[in-house]
């Protein structure tokens, strides 16, 4: 009985959210095999940690989306992934100093699509913080601008993004 219930719950979660979750993963990682690995990790994690989800702090989808994004970013930053990427031929036009979000497999759907409506600087800030998971301090160092400025600009970028959504 319990198993059937679990099965139903899993089917519900997967059938409703797997597309959106898979999309965000693909916006962070660049190849399908890795995306599939992350996808598995994410759903197993969601399943394991579902009892820590607190409905007073936000919707279930928001919670799952952040788990997926964080898992994808962790994968991109892992040593194994970076070593693997180094062996890949360098894609054209990818050597402009500041790399845009790790050459993601998908860039024309979801938030990424919305991002294209922002100006270059805002887009870069959102990309670094949201899709690459850098902290404001790290971004400030990378871009050589004060932390306060990074914070304000990201907020502004997000506010503009909000109007697009």
């Amino acid at each position: 009985m319990l198993n059937e219930q679990s099965n139903d719950a899993f089917n519900y979660l997967y059938d409703n959210y797997s597309g959106a979750i898979y999309t965000i993963i693909n916006q962070v990682v660049s190849d399908k095999d890795t995306a599939n690995d992350v996808m598995q990790e994410v759903f197993v994690n969601i399943w394991r940690k579902i009892n820590t989800y607190d409905a007073t702090k936000g919707r279930l989808f928001t919670w799952m989306l952040n788990i997926a994004r964080n898992a994808a970013i962790d994968k991109v930053r892992s040593k194994g992934y970076r070593d693997n990427q180094r062996n890949q031929p360098i894609a054209e036009g990818e050597d402009k100093g500041m790399v845009m979000s790790s050459n993601p497999a998908v860039s024309d759907v979801g938030l990424k699509k919305v991002l294209t409506t922002l100006n270059e600087e805002y887009r870069k800030l959102i990309d670094l913080s949201y899709f690459q998971g850098f902290t404001h301090e790290e971004i400030a160092k990378m871009m050589g601008i004060p932390l306060g400025t990074v914070k304000t600009r990201i907020r502004t970028a997000i506010s503009q993004l909000r109007k697009m959504i």
Binding site: M1, L2, N3, S6, N7, A9, F10, Y14, S18, G19, A20, Y22, T23, I24, N26, K32, N36, M39, Q40, F43, V44, W47, R48, I50, N51, T52, Y53, D54, A55, T56, K57, G58, R59, F61, T62, L65, N66, R69, N70, V106, V109, G110, L111, V114, S129, Y130, T135, H136, I154, R155, T156, A157, I158, S159, L161, R162, I165
Partner: protein, 264 residues
């Protein structure tokens, strides 16, 4: 704090997208509890984001679902299934309740059955004891009836033996079958003899003024009261008497020690 300014500062979106520091996140959650409009703004952005994310999702490869399900449910064989509910929204767990109730019921039933079994065993023992007691009674009654039939049959002569001066209260009865000459003795009352003495039954015959005594046997030492015992046959008798003799008897009676005797 100006909550409108706070809401429009981009903090809501940053919170939902997971871009705040731990400190900022903590503050935001605190304000959410205090300002309903902040919470509303948060939910509104979450819904917009969700809607947007659902619009053109990339479908994962079909084989992935099976693979993930297998991973989850294989793991569940060793780790318990965590029900979908939050700590704050914990619902009454019916499955646990039913399981607990079943165990209580089971233990209760076993206790009840054990009790019934003990009761049953006791009743069986009682029943067996009653059966035994009944059989003994029936045997006794059957014997009494047989004896009664025996001494009441036609040709049976009943002779009362009254107590003599030796023991005025004593009394015995002799049943003498005049056809088969069988003799039966019923002792109604005789004093208990000493351990080296024993009662002896005699038939008395008077021929030509000469008293003849015939030994009809010894009364058993363990003789029970009011029970009929078969004695030696008597071809002829005019009277019967019981004397107290030495153990195992004498060939002739000690006439001084006649305890009971019938009329001649």
């Amino acid at each position: 704090m100006n909550i409108k300014e706070y809401i429009s500062s981009g903090i809501v979106e940053s919170y939902v997208l997971g871009l705040l520091t731990a400190q900022e996140r903590f503050e935001f959650e605190k304000y959410c509890d205090a300002y309903p409009q902040l919470k509303e703004a948060r939910t509104a952005f979450e819904l917009a984001l969700e809607k947007q994310a659902m619009e053109n999702p990339i479908a994962p490869p079909a084989h992935l679902k099976q693979k993930i399900a297998a991973k989850i449910f294989d793991e569940n064989k060793t780790t318990p299934v965590i029900p979908i509910q939050t700590a704050r929204q914990r619902k009454f767990n019916w499955a646990s309740f039913v399981a607990a109730a079943s165990i209580i019921l089971l233990v209760g039933s076993i206790w009840w059955i054990m009790n019934l079994k003990n009761e049953n065993d006791k009743l069986k023992d009682n029943n067996a004891a009653l059966q035994n007691s009944l059989k003994t009674s029936q045997d006794s009654i059957a014997q009494i009836i047989a004896e009664a039939n025996h001494i009441q049959k036609e040709g049976m002569k009943m002779v009362g033996l009254n107590g003599t001066a030796n023991s005025p209260k004593s009394f015995a009865t002799v049943y003498w079958d005049t056809t088969s000459h069988d003799v039966y003795l019923l002792v109604n009352n005789l004093p208990k003899p000493a351990s080296d003495e024993q009662y002896q039954l005699w038939a008395l015959l008077k021929t030509n003024n000469q008293l003849q005594t015939i030994d009809l046997g010894m009364l058993q030492l363990s003789q029970k009261p009011l029970q009929v015992y078969k004695m030696t046959n008597a071809q002829a008798a005019q009277a019967f008497a019981i004397t107290l003799e030495k153990k195992d008897g004498n060939p002739d009676p000690n006439l001084q020690k006649i305890y009971v005797m019938s009329d001649l």
